[in-house]
């Protein structure tokens, strides 16, 4: 495999919605021998996807279609129930508010912790620190515990770390939408620059215009299945047509 490559082969992910899962040992013991009332919920089914190194890939789909779960599987946070996900290269992920930050540690300590988790040396992180503080614009708050940060500060620091660790793969899950216009623009600029330096980027977003302008290819997830993959304009048009048709159906049903 080449650096920056992501291969997802026949991946399915099941979450157990165990409605009355025993939450205490007593319940668990009392229910030995009874059949458990387990609902299996397949978030992803048989997803096959190959993301080329050095490309900008977008994922679209309605809420609950499995986009974020797919990103988590790529980030190795969850393990697929069946199938296999393989990635090559240093991966940096910005999955949700405060991703990878420990609330009690200061911003600076969290930057070091993040770097360590990505396999970078303290020296490397110390060198990147000024850029990170500058880019995030959080100033003196860098030495305050991140639990007192506003959501905007969280995201700005998160993004600043994610892009300043020289990732070979960058996963971004809509979070940048939390930042203000100015910050969003800087994020876009930075992603462009990373892209030019050969970073593979996977972006989840609902912003059709943004996806059209940034992505080389787009995948459309619907109820855990990958419906279409290909040219952004083509896939996004198909998705939007489908979405408005759904809306129409709901409206008709309501009438």
């Amino acid at each position: 495999m080449t650096t920056g490559e992501i291969t997802i082969s026949d991946v399915s992910k099941r979450f157990r919605l165990d409605r009355d899962r025993p939450s205490s040992l007593k319940e668990a013991i009392l229910r030995i021998g009874q059949t458990a009332d387990i609902d299996d919920f397949w978030v992803l089914r048989n997803v096959d996807l190959h993301i080329e190194p050095d490309s900008f890939f977008g994922l679209i789909g309605h809420n609950g279609s499995g986009k974020s779960t797919l990103l988590r599987l790529i980030a190795n946070i969850h393990r697929p129930t069946t199938g296999e996900v393989t990635t090559e290269g240093r991966m940096s992920a910005l999955l949700e508010l405060g991703s990878g930050f420990h609330p009690d540690l200061t911003g600076r300590e969290n930057v070091f912790l993040n770097g360590t988790m990505l396999g970078l040396t303290r020296k490397h992180m110390a060198e990147a620190m000024d850029d990170i503080i500058e880019f995030s614009g959080i100033g003196d708050f860098i030495d305050e515990p991140v639990k007192i940060y506003s959501s905007g500060m969280y995201v700005r620091l998160g993004f600043a770390v994610a892009v300043n660790v020289n990732p070979e793969i960058l996963l971004v899950d809509e979070v940048i939408a939390v930042g203000d216009e100015e910050f969003q623009r800087r994020c876009m600029d930075h992603m462009h620059r990373l892209r030019e330096n050969g970073t593979t980027i996977v972006l989840v977003s609902h912003d059709a215009a943004l996806m059209r302008s940034l992505c080389d290819r787009v995948g459309w997830l619907d109820h855990g299945r990958l419906v279409e993959v290909g040219d952004p304009d083509h896939v996004i048009d198909a998705y939007l047509a489908h979405a408005s048709q759904d809306d129409g159906d709901t409206l008709t049903a309501r009438d």
Partner: protein
């Protein structure tokens, strides 16, 4: 450290990070910091010495040179070993709980959090052991057999980590486990000859099964090896050393394998 693979180096760095964090978190905002860990064990020794030595007039076993015949020192030796066991087992549950939110958002080998916590515990134990050795040296009751104290503490650490790995995973699912563990540790304290010498059981009315249990349960063996080395200054019974090593290595291996097989599911627990 010369030729570690990148992933091993990353794990080592994470262990160091978690160890540092644990030591900072433990005495955060306390002026005297590490002093409290000494104060804690010294008060325990003082209180038990008073209750068992002065009030009940328990006779401490005679040391090698007969000069350190002190119930407090006898107790301290056992207590160091026992607190490694309880500290690491209960610690593991907390250390895993501490990083569970983080692990839902970013991948890292989860076992590094437990190993880091244990490393911090090891440093604190080393300081306490140093205090014990200095006191023993002042009583001129010291010999090369003190190495068996180090050996016993290492075995205890491995054994405790093995159990800690298992209870930490179980506790992430059933929060009862931490309370259950607390109760069992309370009972276990009296199954291990820490506050009493094992000779106390050479009584006719002590059932044989209780005697065997106290003689052969793993923490008790570790305590006895530590005492042989640093209090009686004698080489421990080779059979007991062998059994102790088997318990420590075996338990660690089982716990480690169990933890590794379940560690990816931790991010899916609520």
């Amino acid at each position: 450290m010369l030729t570690l693979s990148p992933s091993a180096r990353k794990s080592v760095n994470l262990i160091i990070h978690f160890a540092e964090r644990e030591s900072k978190a433990r005495y955060k905002r306390s002026l005297l910091g590490w002093f409290w860990s000494f104060a804690n064990s010294l008060t325990t020794v003082a209180v038990y010495s008073f209750v068992f030595g002065a009030v009940y007039n328990a006779q401490p076993p005679i040391t090698d040179n007969g000069r350190a015949e002190n119930f407090g020192l006898y107790l301290f030796t056992g207590l160091i070993t026992w607190t490694v066991f309880t500290g690491v087992v209960t610690g593991c549950m907390g250390w895993l709980q501490d990083v569970s939110d983080l692990r839902k958002k970013i991948y890292f080998p989860t076992e590094t959090a437990l190993l880091g916590g244990a490393a911090c515990n090891a440093i604190q134990t080393a300081l306490e052991a140093a205090v014990l050795l200095v006191i023993m040296a002042l009583f001129t009751n010291i010999s090369w057999t003190a190495l068996f104290l180090v050996f016993a503490l290492l075995l205890t650490m491995m054994f405790a980590l093995g159990i800690g790995f298992i209870v930490a995973v179980l506790n992430s699912r059933y929060r009862d486990i931490q309370y259950l563990t607390g109760v069992l540790i309370g009972v276990g304290f009296f199954l291990v000859p820490v506050v009493y010498p094992p000779s106390l059981l050479e009584h006719n009315d002590v059932p044989e099964i209780a005697r065997q249990l106290v003689t052969w349960n793993p923490p008790a063996i570790f305590v006895e090896i530590a005492r042989d080395g640093v209090y009686f200054l004698q080489t421990p019974d080779p059979l007991r050393v062998l059994v102790a090593t088997a318990w420590a290595v075996g338990t660690f291996a089982v716990g480690w394998l169990y933890f590794r097989s379940r560690s990816m599911e931790i991010s899916e627990e609520l």
